[in-house]
């Protein structure tokens, strides 16, 4: 052989495996998507070891089987994603499980070494290798669980796998174990977070219902004010008054705040809340305490620090004549200014102990009249824009 033509094995001996492993480790840190990571690792394997195909079958608990998750390599040989499965009783899986149980370290199984296994299992394993056109299989254990089997095709030069290549493969396989483990941890963490968040919102909703139970005249008021506040915020967003960046957080806080805006009425005597007629001075003082009572009920809960502002200040007026603190204009937190409009609009348009409901158009006129006095002009703008749209839809 002329000296310039080196054999494949001589060439591959020049590959810096440590360098490749370092690159793979860096990928692990940078990429959090398990699918992407697995794809890149398989691609690395094919490029470095130069094999015809590599297919990863990952354990699927629901199916009690290992399902083809990712494969790379030549058309026809690589296993299409999701197309095949091998059961947990598959001879190759059984072999790895047995070796693991007997504490025999098994980083791989080579087609050329199957003869050493002996017994009945040997033929069955050979058969499985042929089905998958595989020359090597690398197991992926996490603790005592075999979480995947990596089927590897023939090398492009048809030589057997070298020890160096096998060592390289087993390190990459443990990277894949980590990637799968991380992904599933991340998933369960996310599930847990979502569950907690739902629980939190349901608790808030339950709390908001407490006041509805006490105050007979405000049936559905809390939910309507919440929906209406969110509609106004949506309107403010489309008018460019709320940046897209702050919108998500503001919407979440606004929802909670609106649901709880009257929670302080729990501390107001029922006789006053349900009085059929005008309130006297002393009764007015009592009922005006509800924003502060509400804020005090919620103050211990970390998640409520923003929503509390809406509870505490939804009776402040833009010109500084409201309560409890007589704040004005921008001193009044934005969510409180939104709830103030939604709250008043709903109160005007529903029946109350001392008067009948007003028409929506009438209520809107009264609120517009109070723009810059009782209410923030930009929220009033949002209300008239919303009502215009709503009346157009109603006419259609």
């Amino acid at each position: 052989m002329p000296s310039t033509l080196k054999s494949q094995s001589e060439l591959s001996a020049k590959i810096d495996y440590r360098d490749e492993l370092e690159k793979a480790a860096k990928l692990m840190i940078r990429i959090h998507s398990m699918d992407t990571l697995v794809k890149m690792i398989l691609r690395t394997i094919i490029r470095i070891v130069r094999i015809e195909h590599a297919s990863l079958l990952i354990y699927d608990a629901a199916r009690h089987a290992y399902v083809a998750h990712t494969s790379k390599g030549m058309a026809g040989l690589k296993i299409p994603k999701g197309f095949t499965r091998i059961s947990s009783e598959n001879p190759i899986i059984s072999y790895f499980a047995q070796m693991h149980q007997q504490a025999v370290k098994t980083d791989h199984l080579l087609f050329s070494h199957i003869g050493l296994i002996g017994g009945q299992l040997q033929e069955k394993i050979r058969d499985e290798f042929l089905l998958y056109n595989a020359r090597a299989c690398v197991p992926g254990f996490f603790r005592d669980k075999l979480i995947f089997a990596l089927f590897l095709g023939a090398k492009q030069n048809y030589e057997d796998y070298t020890d160096e290549e096998l060592g390289f493969l087993s390190v990459l396989a443990s990277d894949v174990v980590m990637a799968i483990q991380n992904a599933s941890l991340f998933q369960s963490l996310n599930d847990q977070l979502l569950k907690n968040k739902n629980l939190f919102l349901q608790t808030v909703f339950a709390l908001s219902q407490a006041i509805e139970a006490k105050d007979h005249y405000t049936q559905g008021h809390t939910e309507r004010v919440t929906q209406f506040s969110l509609n106004l915020a949506e309107e403010l967003k489309s008018m460019g008054r709320i940046s897209l960046k702050e919108a998500k957080e503001l919407f979440e806080n606004l929802r909670i705040s609106a649901l709880l805006h009257d929670i302080g009425k729990i501390g107001v005597p029922e006789a006053i809340l349900n009085k059929n007629g005008m309130l006297d001075e002393q009764e007015r003082v009592e009922i005006n305490k509800h924003p502060l009572i509400g804020a005090n009920i919620l103050i211990k809960i970390d998640e409520f620090q923003e929503p509390i502002l809406g509870v505490k200040y939804h009776h402040e007026k833009f010109d500084g004549t409201g309560y409890p603190e007589g704040l004005k204009e921008n001193q009044i937190p934005f969510i409180a200014r939104i709830i103030a409009v939604a709250d008043t609009f709903d109160a005007m348009t529903s029946d109350r102990p001392y008067r009948k409901a007003m028409l929506k158009e009438q209520a809107l006129c009264l609120i517009i009249e109070q723009s810059g006095k009782q209410f923030d002009p930009q929220v009033v703008d949002a209300l008239s824009s919303f009502c215009r749209k709503a009346s157009i839809t109603a006419k259609e």
Binding site: V67, G76, K78, P80, F83, R85, S87, L131, N133
Partner: protein, 120 residues
């Protein structure tokens, strides 16, 4: 024995054709129902291995049309879910058996050997 593989997923089609060839069978692939019908006369297969769900026609519709061209055509189906196949309708069209994805390759091989190679 000549087999026509019909599957809209190119990778699946390639894989199945290769798999059948490794078992010593002659195989060709079509990438959709219309393609399969267009190839049918030229290839003149003894068997079709059909994907149940394809974008243009479903597997059974393709089979009805193939039966018109060759009443002796025999078939096996691959489906996404077991309930996708109306068992009686499939049997009446001469479907020998079906496999549910993800399939077990040794089961596929056994079925191919039993039905196609040994003609049982």
């Amino acid at each position: 024995m000549k087999i026509l593989v019909v599957d809209d997923e190119v990778e699946v089609g390639n894989f199945l054709v290769d798999f059948l060839k490794r078992l010593g069978l002659e195989a060709e692939k079509a990438i959709c129902g219309a393609d399969a019908l267009a190839m049918f006369g030229r290839v003149n297969p003894d068997w079709v291995l059909l994907d149940m769900k394809m974008p243009d026609l479903d597997g059974l519709e393709v089979l009805v049309k193939m039966k018109e061209l060759n009443p002796n055509i025999k078939s096996m189906m691959i489906t996404g879910k077991s309930d996708e196949v109306s068992e009686s309708e499939a049997r009446s069209l001469g479907v020998r058996d079906y496999l549910v994805k993800p399939i077990d390759l040794s089961e596929l091989r056994t079925k191919i050997k039993t039905y196609i190679m040994d003609g049982k």
